[in-house]
Every structure is written in structure tokens, then in C-alpha cells.
Amino acid sequence: MANRVLIGEHDTHGHGLYVSKSGADVTGSTASNLSFSSHFTDSNSGIVSLNGEAFNVYSKGYTDITIDQGDILATGDITWNRSVFNDGSTDRCPLIFCQVGKTSGDTPTTHWLPCILSQKNQGGDERAGYGYRYTVRPYYTTTTGLLRITVSRGVTESGTTNNDADIDFRAFYTLLYTRLN
């Protein structure tokens, strides 16, 4: 059985935590045999390496959004304190994942992929489509960043508004410590 986990000094990669893929010896020198390494570096020009960091979560949660009868769009806002992502001199932009469930509940059975929310009907005409989109404004106010989630149930091809009843959505979000460079 191959050695799979090394905590300590690796002969090639130095001190750290290393895990090899099944069947590969973690003490070997081939980086592609490692499923996890704490020693990823990148010296290519213009690259600020994240060094293989995990997607560590700062905060997570959900917000409910209701599109009222007769409307096609509704929004929900999440804010965070910019100082959380201050690197000592300037504020930084966090990576955020977001997903919208079709109905309310702790575990909606239907989750959408983001939709472009802009369908072209005819020449020069652009309309909202069924789905959602989220926009991140990292420096929205002097102290807070903003995640704005917009859900839509679209419009008909003729451009008239949707006149269906109220509909509820649940938007899940995750703010990560990963920062843009």
C-alpha cells in the first residue's frame, strides 16, 4: 500500500501537508500525483498565486425574495462589512457563490443555474428571461459591500408583463475569504 499522507518535510516540496492520489506514493517528486498540496507556488509574470487555498467560508445563509403579482423582477440584498476583507491598507473583493431555489424551504428541490436575464425578442429589443442573476458590489458604501440577487419570471414575447400570482424564491449565498487580484 502506498504512502498517502505526509505531514512534515517532503524531500521535493518542503514542509507541509501532502496527500497523494490513490495508488501514488506521497513521498514521490511528481506534483501531479498529489491530490492535495500545501506547497503550490506560481512564478509566472502577473500571477498572484492563491497557493492552493481551500474555498474557506466567511459567512453563508439565505434570503427570501418574492415577486409580486404583475411584476417580473424582484431583488434581495445581502451586505457585509468591508473591513473583513481589508489587507492592512486597502479593502478587497471577496469571491461569492449564489444559488436560487424555485420555492421557499430549507432545501428547495429545484436550484437554477444563473440566467443571463436578457433575451432578445426582436431587433433592438432585450427582455428579462426566467432565472436569476447576482451582482457583487464590493465597495458599495464606505463601510459595506453588497450582494444583490435579482430573480425574474420573465415576460411574454410581446413584452407585456407577467400577471401571474405572487411567487417566492429562496436565494442561498456563500461569502468566501478568497480575494481578487
Binding site: G52, L117, V136, T141, V155
Partner: protein, 165 residues
């Protein structure tokens, strides 16, 4: 308090390194609640999240990065201009503390959201082409898409993570 870290022989999963989430005993059989599992087929690790600027006169950019000879995924989001804004207004990399700049924003898709049935959006976008150079590096080419000639600056944020196989 639950056992959270196990380095050694797990009764169910064998030798390895395991970390469970808060409140879950790492010695239990169910590995659905492991934050770290050395028996996983691979572990996604972030390599870079970089922003580039494209304009109507500079319509592509490349990012060459270390991929360690394994498959890497690239995901892009973008920032877009409205009215007289340019790249400096929409870039999301950094801002001085206590200074607001609400024009900086990114989304999985660019463009202004239609606010009503008759409203229009913006029609600029981008494409990503991620190539394994087979020398432990990869190169991503980001290309500007502007089918209706809006000639607006965009910023594209490219997230790259490796997925070992």
C-alpha cells in the same frame, strides 16, 4: 466535544487524514460530513483569481499560470460599463478603506439588467479558452465579445482551481 481530526487508520475508510465539520465525530462511517478526506478522488484548490481589462482596442488578454500538469478549471465573471464609465470605475480588485465606489461590480453575466418590459440591457461579453501547455503551465485567453458595437470597457475576473485526477 466531537473528535474532529483523524490521522491514521479510520475504521471505515482506512489509513488517511480526515477532518469532520463542527459537531460531527470524524470516526463515524458517514464521510458526507468531512471537510477534508484524503480518500477523495481529488481536492479542488484555488490557484488564482485574477482580473483583466478588455477594451474595444484591446480585445484579448492572456493569463499563463502554473497548472502542475493536472486538469484545471477556469470560471469567468465580468464587470461592465454604463453611461460614461470606463475600466477604472468598474474594476473590483481593491479600493481604499472608507472610500465608496458603487460602480465597481461583477456578475456571472455582464450587462445592465432590464428593469421592465420595455427596458434594454447591455450586450457585451467575453469568452475563455483554457489550454494545457503540457509543460506544467496553462494559458487562458480571454476575448472580448461586442456584437452590437457598444465599444465599452469590461473587466473579466478569472478564477482558476485545480482538480487532480
Amino acid at each position: 466535544m466531537a473528535n474532529r481530526v483523524l490521522a491514521g487508520d479510520h475504521d471505515t475508510h482506512g489509513y488517511g487524514l480526515y477532518v469532520s465539520k463542527s459537531g460531527v465525530d470524524v470516526t463515524a462511517a458517514d464521510n458526507n460530513y468531512f471537510l477534508f478526506d484524503s480518500n477523495a478522488a481529488g481536492m479542488a484548490q484555488a490557484l488564482l483569481w485574477k482580473e483583466v481589462t478588455l477594451t474595444s482596442s484591446s480585445t484579448s488578454a492572456t493569463i499563463t499560470y502554473a497548472n502542475f500538469g493536472v486538469r484545471c478549471y477556469a470560471i469567468g465573471t465580468m464587470s461592465w460599463c454604463e453611461a460614461l464609465q470606463d475600466a477604472d470605475d468598474i474594476s473590483c480588485i481593491t479600493e481604499a478603506a472608507s472610500t465608496a465606489r458603487d460602480t465597481a461590480r461583477w456578475s456571472a453575466f455582464g450587462g445592465k439588467l432590464p428593469a421592465g418590459a420595455a427596458d434594454t440591457g447591455e450586450s457585451v461579453g467575453f469568452s475563455l479558452n483554457n489550454v494545457d501547455n503540457e509543460d506544467d503551465t496553462g494559458t487562458i485567453t480571454i476575448s472580448y465579445i461586442d456584437p452590437v458595437g457598444r465599444n465599452k470597457d469590461i473587466c473579466v475576473q478569472v478564477l482558476v482551481f485545480k482538480e487532480e485526477v
